[in-house]
Symmetry: C2
Subunit: 215 residues, 2 copies
């Protein structure tokens, strides 16, 4: 499966750089943008590019949306983002769609349009400012968790059969912090975290693996 990135502004570019740093092959990334300069910048990374308006269904077809593993939408405008999400969701009911949103009041609309993950960088920035005002090291650590470089990364994975029945604290691939069991979220401190079940998804903090240099 490939990852389609609609919009190669600053956030889209940061997302692509992150994916490449984690050893994703450039040919598995398809960048769609109507702006020639941004397409040229994407080409320098060796990714596949489509120089087109992302709101056209023909563009989604050209990006092979039906076989994509994930879709990232970061167009810089909430109206454009809503339209791209709607059209991507219409052409692939199952693909994971993540979108950045500017205005808080558009978050639920873009979720309704079909996005699985909504990221509001401005609100997030505000939350980090509050954390930074309280403590010296929290923002550094959260930044490290969110990025492929540094000492740690946060990831999720399905529980293995060997782990079933054991406590979350016994996993050896990282530090388990949460269990996602269906729609239920279980914290490391809760009694249900004492016995992992088949089908559980574990959220864990892991040491970073050696990273690829950017092309």
């Amino acid at each position: 499966g490939h990852i389609i990135v609609y919009g190669y502004g600053a956030s889209g570019e940061a997302a692509v750089n992150e994916l490449l740093r984690q050893n994703m092959l450039p040919e598995r990334i398809v960048v769609v943008d109507y702006n020639g300069d941004r397409i040229a910048a994407a080409l320098e990374r060796g990714v596949t590019t489509i120089d087109c308006d992302a709101t056209h269904n023909s563009t989604q077809a050209a990006a092979n949306i039906d076989t994509a593993q994930a879709v990232i939408v970061s167009t810089g405008r909430d109206d454009t983002t809503a339209l791209v999400v709607l059209s991507a969701r219409a052409m692939n009911p199952h693909v994971s769609i993540s979108a950045t949103v500017r205005a808080v009041e558009n978050e639920s609309l873009i979720r309704q349009a079909g996005a699985d993950h909504i990221i509001n960088p401005v609100s997030f920035g505000g939350h980090l400012l509050a954390r930074a005002a309280e403590g010296r090291h929290v923002v550094d650590y959260i930044s490290d968790l969110a990025s492929a470089d540094g000492k740690v990364v946060m990831r999720d994975r399905v529980v293995t059969s060997a782990e079933v029945g054991k406590p979350l604290s016994a996993i050896t691939t990282g530090l388990g912090v949460r269990i996602c069991r269906g729609d239920h979220q279980i914290g490391y401190w809760e009694p249900e975290a004492q016995a992992l079940r088949a089908g559980d998804v574990i959220v864990e903090i892991a040491q970073t693996r050696p990273l690829s240099p950017l092309p």
Copy 2:
């Protein structure tokens, strides 16, 4: 000590809401903005406001920068942010200053100007987009860590005398993830994490406390 918030745009407002949700008294927050509508919005939260240009030293004096506990700068323009950081740092050499930056190339300049914490919401958004494309639950968890609501919050604190000599994994206030020892960062998996020392700062994941409703 009070917290001064320079700039009450979307990020500044999100930061103030976060601080209030964590039971900070509104009178301990001073919002500085030159825009009357934004000042009116801040007044609705019950915080102290100063309707002035943040780049004037007289504004910093009016905000009692010399006795402030922390400064948050989120003006929406990197040039204005640099100037506010410079003037705040000149008037208080020890206060914690956090700033949001738009362009990656300005991050080191604004750090040089005197900011302790630099937050780039756009880069951060890109990193979260990459995380969301890989896993279903990582972005939700990182958002929860960064915010006062939800099930968890990330915080840091100085080690207690009772904890000295014990391993990081033995703390009972949360799940310890990192030790900051001087300039050195020690991960939960490292041998040095087996014995806490006096003066260590622990980064931990804690359950959220009951939150205040927003005024």
